[in-house]
């Protein structure tokens, strides 16, 4: 039996069947038929204030739950505005589906009003994309989009639907099966390679687990923990992997890389075995590749074959779902019954001791001052309140790095940041998406004064839905990270980085009908944050911090990660 209905209704029907309960979007001319159906409230539609933020909010929804996030925009400028969010999701492997309207089929190619080649423009921005010009192709495309977005290495998929398809009438037949003969998803891992990996792990004297976003995407945090405890190996989590092993876990070191801790980078540089799980040897992690982990053999587990050997050739490549592969490795380790010899046991003890010493030698230290608020102080106060439990979203830059260094995340899907693409303006809309997905959670949107001003329109979304997001602006009056590079590498010639004229936070929030405050004294920090958290609604806290602080440790671009700059150059003593 099939029912006669419009394309727009079919679209909603498909989305509902895919389990979509909430989507983020902005309507326009060609999506009118779709919005007319949304009027019937089968899906909650969240009206954002800019399409880019619809994509970021969908990411926030997906990152905080693992479910596919959905966003929607009209043709032309609506679709082009989505692109930053699509690339952001692509870089961080986040499953989102974007629905865009397109001008009517007969108008395509005629430079019609609000026409853009969305299909062409978003080809490199997506894992896959579709242009639907026939009503009978619509259901297929939507279900394929959800499957492709959420399977294998997750990513964004866009479906561009022409207006005549949305308006057309047809018989709805559920598409119960899809066939993508060329779409290969490798999940199991090669048995022989897994055996070799197990042997290597058993023989290693200085093993290090290097795990990342793949653990979170695969929902493999439990397996990771079991593996780490079984092997007692020290562990670093990449920026994308924070929370995959609880920050408070005794084996956890911290984040490695350009702004990683001394201990994490020294461990990377001295390990004899890197067990790389769902990571991609990103340049911000490895520094100069030739000098990266020079003593280590590498076991690399990733679901994407193209990641294996892309930057570092592994000794044992394993293409598979890291959850399943870890399960097999754990099983094999337990069943092997091989006990390490005394020498090996001693070597591993010495290695763990060495890592502890590195941690003590140069710990990540919270800097405070009696007169001004240090940015590290601010993030440590957020950490104190969060206790590893709150969702924290961030943009990109100094505040992001300090947050990654100092805020604990004891579960996956709490730390939501724009890692690969590094998009300013991500934090606030991502918090919107996360708060809708997890209404029970305390959500901090920790953003810089630069990124916040890129996302200011979303204050209206926050206000209009009464989302209790705690927006904390780490305000140093500069594009801090760019300024840091100008200071360190461009003779302190501060070109176009000063952001003066920041709005009065109390008035700004007040204009939207919620509370806001500006503070600049260290003793105001804790009470202000507590007040923000107590407030049942949204809160905008503008924290003026020391303007010229730099993030350390720092590995200069192109440097080896063992050669960190640990702090600011010491002033030369005048004789």
């Amino acid at each position: 039996m099939s029912t006669l209905m419009s394309g727009a209704k079919m679209l909603v029907e498909c989305l509902v069947r895919e389990g979509v309960d909430c989507m983020f979007g902005y309507p326009g001319g060609v999506t009118l038929p779709f919005y007319d159906v949304l009027y019937e409230h089968h899906i909650r539609h969240v009206l954002v204030r800019h399409e880019e933020n619809a994509a970021f909010a969908a990411e926030g929804y997906a990152r905080s739950t693992g479910k596919v996030g959905v966003c929607c925009a009209t043709s032309g400028p609506g679709a082009t505005n989505l692109t930053t969010g699509l690339v952001d999701a692509m870089m961080d492997s986040i499953p989102i589906v974007a629905i865009t309207g397109q001008v009517s089929t007969k108008l395509i190619g005629s430079d019609a009003f609000q026409e853009a080649d969305t299909f062409g423009i978003t080809r490199p921005c997506t894992k896959h994309n579709y242009l639907v010009k026939k009503l009978e192709d619509l259901g297929q495309a939507i279900h394929e989009a959800f499957y492709v977005a959420s399977s294998g290495r997750p990513g964004p998929v866009l479906v561009d639907v022409t207006k005549d398809v949305l308006q057309g009438q047809g018989h709805y037949q559920p598409v119960t099966s899809i066939h993508l003969p060329g779409y290969k998803v490798f999940t199991e891992g090669h048995t022989g390679q897994i055996r070799r990996a197990v042997q290597m792990i058993q023989e290693s004297e200085r093993p290090l687990v290097y795990s990342g976003g793949g653990i979170i995407a695969a929902e493999a945090a439990r397996e990771l923990r079991e593996f780490v405890e079984l092997t007692d190996a020290p562990t670093v989590n990449t920026l994308m992997g924070l929370g995959s092993l609880p920050s408070e876990h005794p084996n956890f070191i911290s984040m490695p890389g350009m702004h990683g801790s001394y201990a994490a980078n020294m461990a990377m540089s001295n390990a004899d075995l890197l067990i790389a799980l769902g990571v991609r040897f990103d340049d911000r992690v490895t520094g100069r590749l030739a000098a990266f982990a020079p003593h280590a053999k590498v076991i690399h587990v990733d679901i994407d074959p193209a990641e294996i050997g892309k930057n570092r050739a592994p000794d044992v490549p394993i293409v598979g779902d890291v959850k399943r592969v870890l399960t097999k490795i754990i099983k094999a380790l337990k069943e092997s019954g091989t006990e390490p010899g005394e020498n090996l046991k001693a070597a591993r003890r010495a290695w763990r001791q060495q890592v502890r010493e590195w941690k003590q030698e140069h710990p990540l230290q919270v800097v405070t001052s009696d007169t001004e608020i240090k940015p590290q102080h601010l993030v440590s106060e957020i950490d104190r309140i969060s206790r590893g439990q709150a969702i924290v979203t961030s943009d990109v830059g100094q505040h992001q790095m300090w947050a990654a260094q100092f805020i604990r995340f004891n579960e996956p899907r709490l730390w939501l940041n724009s890692g690969g693409l590094g998009s300013m303006g991500f934090g606030l809309p991502a918090a919107v998406g996360a708060q809708f997905a997890r209404p029970d959670k305390l959500v901090f949107s920790l953003v810089g004064d630069g990124g916040f001003q890129m996302a200011i329109p979303e204050l209206a979304t926050v206000a209009s839905y009464g989302l209790p997001i705690k927006i904390v602006v780490m305000n140093n009056g500069y594009l801090g990270m760019v300024r840091q590079w100008q200071t360190l590498f461009y003779n302190n010639r501060l070109s176009a980085v000063e952001l003066d004229c920041f709005p009065d936070a109390e008035k700004l929030a007040g204009a939207y009908g919620f509370k806001g405050k500006t503070i600049d004294k260290p003793w105001e920090l804790a009470p202000a944050l507590e007040e923000a958290v107590k407030e049942p609604g949204p809160y905008l806290l503008n924290v003026k911090v020391t303007p010229f602080e730099c993030v350390y440790p720092m590995v200069p671009a192109g440097g080896a990660i063992s050669e960190m700059v640990l702090g600011p150059p010491q002033p030369v003593a005048v004789p």
Partner: protein, 180 residues
């Protein structure tokens, strides 16, 4: 170094763009590209010759295999394969050298496809290097126009094609009641 890639892909709108986009976004210049449908009209076979650094060759194949529409990407650069190309040459030649031009064309296995008082149009197939020589020789006899087809390649060893089976969608899930 020039890499020869053979692709089997779904004959769908945008499939070509995905392949060329993958190369152009890495700044690789495509030397030649041919594409046509296979015995199965839903599939196309594409041969690409592209300038790629040696250490990136495997990465390019892996990235192509990741494209949803690509069923199989094979690197034929160093594996047993036959590579052929077709060239059409129009040559303007004076009366006195016509016989000589025809003789030369014959040496290359050429076939005259048009003849006029001004000269000939000649068709030759062969491996791309040989065709280069043919073009040089023709150029020495008169003014020429040249169109090359780009390389076509076929592997001499068949590689097993693994196709993925259909998967069920969530549309099959019985809803309490349909939305409409």
């Amino acid at each position: 170094m020039l890499q020869v890639i053979s692709l089997l892909l779904e004959n769908k709108p945008g499939a070509l763009m995905r392949v060329t986009g993958l190369l152009s976004q890495r700044g690789y210049n495509i030397e030649s590209l041919t594409v046509a449908r296979t015995l199965d009209p839903e599939l196309s076979r594409m041969t690409i010759v592209v300038e790629v650094e040696v250490h990136q060759r495997q990465q390019v194949i892996k990235q192509m295999n990741k494209l949803i529409n690509v069923l199989q990407a094979t690197d034929l650069t160093e594996s047993p394969a036959v590579v052929r190309e077709l060239v059409l040459v129009r040559i303007r030649t004076p009366q006195e050298s016509r016989t000589a031009v025809l003789k030369e064309a014959e040496i290359f296995g050429g076939r005259v496809v048009d003849s006029s008082t001004e000269g000939f149009a000649i068709e030759v197939t062969g491996d791309p290097e040989k065709l280069g020589e043919f073009i040089d020789v023709m150029g020495s006899w008169g003014e020429i126009d040249v169109t090359r087809s780009g390389a076509l390649a076929i592997a001499l060893e068949s590689k097993k094609l693994k196709l993925q089976p259909p998967v069920p969608t969530k549309a099959g899930v019985k809803l309490e009641e349909s939305v409409y």
